[in-house]
């Protein structure tokens, strides 16, 4: 059951909206893989997987080595004595590796698509392999998102100013390098309820006020 996000108390909470969209992509891709039948076209699966993989890659790229991990004052890390706090800091430092693990999962699915199948239709054995790999990728993604929600987001809430959080979220939601800078917002929007979309567009306005988008 999907829970509706009813409020964004702090800008960084917009991550929950992004996570919801990533989970939506994962769910659709796994369902398509599960129901691939021998001899059927792979087109729908490939489209769904490409959308999911693109989202993972963009999200990971923007989280890692950019505003999110760099904005936090690392000196606070050494002051953390509580075991949970220490794990939170350790996990934040390891975001790059977490992302790399997810990318590995994406590459494995791509390898199955290219090497095992190659052609455009499915055979039973490769359907199973494809299904196994996308389920594994979804599990890895879910671990990552869940841990991020439980540990990293709370850390960022406590350690980043609202302005700084807006910058981090802005980098995640608005693709400054793309022809269509709003593609991420549009992509997330498809998996959100009306209320959640209002929150998303409200956040977009705040980001644009802070850093006007050309």
């Amino acid at each position: 059951m999907t829970v509706e996000i009813t409020t964004l108390e702090q800008p960084i909470d917009a991550m929950y909206l992004i996570h919801k969209a990533l989970r939506g992509e994962a769910g659709r891709t796994v369902e398509l893989a599960k129901h691939l039948e021998t001899g059927c076209s792979l087109q729908a699966f490939k489209l769904a997987f490409t959308a999911w993989a693109t989202a993972i890659m963009y999200h990971g790229e923007k989280e890692v080595g950019t505003a999110m991990t760099k904005s936090v004052d690392a000196t606070r890390c050494s002051a953390a004595h509580d075991p949970v706090e220490r794990v939170k800091w350790a996990l934040l430092e390891k975001e790059d590796e977490e992302y790399a693990r997810l990318l590995d999962g994406v590459l494995v699915v791509m390898t199955v698509l290219e090497e095992d199948i190659g052609a455009t239709s499915v055979i039973s054995r490769t359907q199973q392999h494809l299904y196994g790999q996308v389920v594994a990728l979804r599990v890895a993604q879910e671990d990552h998102l869940e841990t991020e929600e439980a540990m990293i987001i709370s850390l960022l809430r406590e350690n980043l100013s609202p302005e700084c959080q807006l910058k981090v979220v802005g980098a995640l939601l608005i693709d400054q390098e793309a022809d269509d800078r709003h593609w991420v917002i549009e992509w997330i929007s498809q998996d959100l309820t009306l209320k959640e979309n209002e929150l998303l567009f409200g956040m977009e306005s705040r980001i644009e006020q802070l850093q006007p988008v050309a």
């Binding site: 220490r86 599990v139 841990t147």
Partner: protein, 239 residues
Amino acid sequence: MTAENIHRLEDPIDVMPLMHKAFRSVSDRTEAMAANAATFEDIADLNEAFGYWVKQLLYHAAVEDEVMTGPLKDIQPARDNETEHTELAGKAGDLVSFIAMGNAAGLEESVREAAFSLEEEQHLALEAKFHEVETALKDVLGEKKVIARTICHIHSRLIGVRILELDHFENEEAFVISLVRDEMDEAQQLGIVRWLLIDEFAEDPRWIIDWIYSELDREDQALLKDLENRFQGAVAQPA
């Protein structure tokens, strides 16, 4: 030959696709259980179902290695088949151990992976308080999420075992059964099949064959019954 193509068992070894069909049924069913699991009680039920599947699988593989491929000396597909059995048993064993870790197995696995990638100094410090950290994490996530994560990990691993099993059956049907057909006469094949279906050393020697009957449709049951009569008759005949 696949199970779908069988009309009559010309060679006794042709019972193998029927046995594989039974394995596919139990593995599909167990995977569906994992996909629908939601509570700790569901994991216990799943553990029981998976344990039964593994018990059947291990007996099947051990007997095949001993009496089917064992005598096929200097034949590579026979050795490959045995290697696949080892891999399958390893992967199934890993999952049994994983389930035995309890309802926080998924969390433990993911947290340990993160902890092990830390610098040694950090790692040692963390490892010392590992259980304390884990308990705190369980509190942060909540029991429901901890169990859900474990179920997801079990499901994914179970799919892995099932895929390995299906690949193995396909390979065996394509490369090994024809070898057995060529290299062994009917009496030898009946002996192998009997070993595979009847466990003489068990309290209930029919625990395998009865399970296979239960997984097959009426048509396949008739084929199996005919074969059972053949190997029981062969045993009854004087040497």
